[in-house]
């Protein structure tokens, strides 16, 4: 009988810290595999802000809240150890939505499970330059924000996993890029490793005043946070500017909805387009983006810094680092 250690959601968390009050590490015997299921020995876990919403009792979110008592859900990378789906043979390296667990049991069609390319030297890149953060960056910058060469793109949470990739996708598509992040270390990372044209430290600088320096105004905004930073960008958009709403981290730690953007009237005044999009919607399009992302990765044009933690027992610490912005780059946990 396979044993499984996993994080269980016991109560709905408040805030973005002290998750140990709300989740507990449990162990159980795995149930026999049902028809169509696949069992994975997890090697890596991806920490993603979007999963915070699943812990909330809000019913108007992306999807129904995770019932209390469930295994916490997240992206996993690992090897198939038992399979009732011929498309995912034992031994295959796979990635998809599983559980915060050393053994994840999934229904491939419901969780976007994919067999990944074993020729990629660093398997963490399946959560990095070739993963959902990268697809999100690519779709958000190219399709939702419709960034064109020579335009000015602003990215919030720019030192995070998705943000740092969005900056680089923008630059690779010929845009000028402004990255907004908190603290001097992150801004140095943006300037020196990510390669932005301007870095704004929202903790120590007046974001509104710095954005006013953008010549002609901001053409596109890839927004991960919402709240006051969205307000500042809306006040500095060019006419016909586009906002791709990828996340609203500013509101994830509260069950109450955030107030709407203070400068919403600019939508009319400057004929802006604001569009929400959501990583899991692009699961099925990953293969389409892969050749371009792989080419950029191999050419050194998609640099990803990993923020790595070891051990299933340390998942909550890694998750908190990511949610509170202590990380630079992509937060992963090695099991």
């Amino acid at each position: 009988m396979t044993r499984c250690r996993f994080w269980r959601l016991d109560r709905h968390p408040e805030g973005n810290t002290d998750f140990a009050r709300f989740l507990s590490l449990q162990e159980e015997d795995c149930a026999p595999l049902a028809d169509g299921e696949v069992r994975i020995a997890t090697e890596w876990l991806s920490m993603d802000a979007g999963t915070r919403m699943w812990m909330s009792p809000r019913t108007d979110g992306y999807q129904p809240p995770l019932p209390l008592g469930s295994k916490m859900v997240g992206l996993v990378l690992g090897r198939v150890i038992e399979s009732a789906d011929a498309g995912y043979p034992v031994g295959a390296l796979v990635r998809g939505f599983g559980q915060w667990a050393d053994v994840a049991t999934v229904v491939p069609a419901l969780t976007g499970l994919e067999v990944v390319d074993e020729t990629v030297a660093d398997p963490r890149q399946h959560f990095g330059a070739l993963g959902m953060n990268a697809w999100t960056a690519y779709v958000g910058v190219k399709e939702v924000a419709s960034v064109k060469p020579g335009e000015w793109l602003v990215v919030s949470a720019a030192a995070g996993a998705t943000g740092s990739l969005a900056c680089q996708v923008g630059r690779n598509l010929g845009a000028k890029v402004v990255g907004i992040a908190g603290g001097a270390d992150k801004c140095r990372y943006l300037t020196e490793e990510v390669g932005v044209d301007m870095a704004i430290d929202y903790r120590n600088e007046d974001v509104d005043a710095r954005l006013a320096e953008v010549p002609g105004g901001v053409n596109a905004f890839f927004d991960n946070v919402g709240g006051p930073i969205l307000d500042a960008v809306l006040g500095n958009m060019a006419h016909y500017g586009r906002v791709a709403v990828c996340g609203m981290v500013a509101g994830y730690d509260t069950d109450a909805p955030m107030p709407g953007p203070a400068k919403f009237d600019q939508v009319l005044m400057r004929r802006l387009r604001i569009e929400g999009f959501f990583i899991p919607d692009f699961l099925h399009r990953g293969a389409e983006f892969m050749p371009q992302l792989r080419e950029w990765l191999d050419a050194g044009k998609l640099a990803v810094r990993f923020d790595e933690t070891a051990g299933l027992e340390n998942v909550l610490t890694a998750y908190e680092r990511m949610l509170t912005g202590k990380n630079i780059g992509k937060v992963v946990v090695k099991l």
Copy 2:
């Protein structure tokens, strides 16, 4: 020497009533016509909510505020009486942005002046089914809100000039239509003349509860008002819904920006698209929409009710009727 009677903007108005405190009727000799100018004997004036912004001192609006002491600007229909532009010969019936005046002097290229089709039986239709409100309705419903057959379209200020046309464009394109308006008379007009599938009286009904009746949620929203009605619709959108922001009448009477939509987080949760657009941006595309609009008009599929006032001296009364929603249909002034 041609004399000209006109409304002069003396002070920035507050609110949407008592405009006589802020504008005055003046008379002067017209200056000799400059190169490229055209002089028009105005026969009809169109009253449009969008012009309220020009009276405001806000510099972050659609365009710079109208300087105090200027002639108030608005859409006019009339005959050319003097011309220094060969494209607009004396005697031609023309429409474009002119002044609230019995004689309007314009530079055609700057004001979207067009020679209109004299075969249209009712000249008011150049402000109605064939005018900018209709182009706005058509672009907003078809292009910005991307309404498809079988979808549910909601229109606010639905008994107004643009709103009633947006309802009919939606219906003509095969959508189900919900019109929101204030009062039983307007709702009867929507049901009996405009032909909506559901009318909601926001003064006497719970808009949120009524919208919850829409099967599957609202796919598209043509919004003229913003504010609490936008909040109610955002809470009842289907996934991948589109909001075409045509106006924010709820905020026009104040110089302070409106608060952002309370349910803005639904942009992310339901992957919505919100896009602002603006009538004058479509001046140059009028000809493109005209065949379809003319066909619908001739087939009785674009019914316009006119709310008519006579005399230049009564312009402010007509304007207030329109801004405060006392009108049903298109407000025009006959000179």
